[in-house]
């Protein structure tokens, strides 16, 4: 029996969502960092939309697969008080990260704006701001999933 088999339906579902985010957005940001030059708006939008579509497709396929294999659990109870409590606790952590990340991006923009006036830096492009915010959002989602798994495993 593998570790995956020991997980409940809900834990498997969370794990799949987390892995899908890590792999798909990991690939998206790796390609972005590896690009020689900043892609244009059209290329960035198609890459972002492509990543989102890939995420939706992967989630649907894998959730359908575990629902078939774990039919009895998938059809049983909806989220109960413990599931909601765990999700709530994980949300507190991920929201803290999201708020902190957004504030950091904001601070970065303000400092950059001030330095820009003195001519010391080249400035931040909208492309960078959009991707920084996307990174913070994806990271907070991954932490939300990870924290839920941690709380489920602890008890």
């Amino acid at each position: 029996m593998s570790i995956f088999d020991e997980l409940s339906f809900r834990e498997k579902s969370i794990l799949i969502s987390m892995l899908a985010q890590v792999l798909i957005f990991g690939n998206y940001f790796a390609e972005l960092l590896g690009a020689a030059a900043e892609p244009g708006l059209g290329a960035m939008l198609s890459a972002m939309i492509g990543a989102i579509i890939a995420l939706i497709v992967v989630e649907i396929l894998f959730h359908a697969a575990i629902a078939i294999f774990d039919r009895s659990e998938a059809e049983s109870q909806p989220a109960d008080e413990r599931d909601r409590m765990i999700s709530g606790r994980a949300s507190v952590i991920s929201r803290f990260l999201l708020s902190g990340g957004v504030l950091l991006v904001l601070g970065h923009l303000l400092v950059n704006g001030a330095l820009l006036e003195s001519g010391d830096v080249r400035g931040v492009t909208l492309f960078e701001v959009a991707n920084l915010l996307l990174f913070v959002f994806v990271l907070s989602e991954i932490v939300h999933y990870g924290a839920q798994l941690w709380f489920y495993r602890r008890g």
């Binding site: 409940s8 809900r10 659990e73 049983s76 109870q77 109960d80 008080e81 413990r82 599931d83 709380f151 489920y152 602890r154 008890g155």
Partner: protein, 73 residues
Amino acid sequence: MKKSHIANNIRRLRFDQGEMTQQALADAIGVTRQTVLAIEAGKYSPSLEVAFRMAAVFGVPLESVFQYDPPAD
């Protein structure tokens, strides 16, 4: 979640009910089997409502299902 200071007799009460399964108990009180498992292992303290529902399923007073076990400090 820290180990709670609430002890329980759920395992014995399930046995007394003709080896009621965790899934059957979960269905009867409206939670998932994993939640029953966590409550039984003392890793999760349920809401009062779930605790009372559990006592009603077993047909015993609440104190027969859960007991407060204060920390020894």
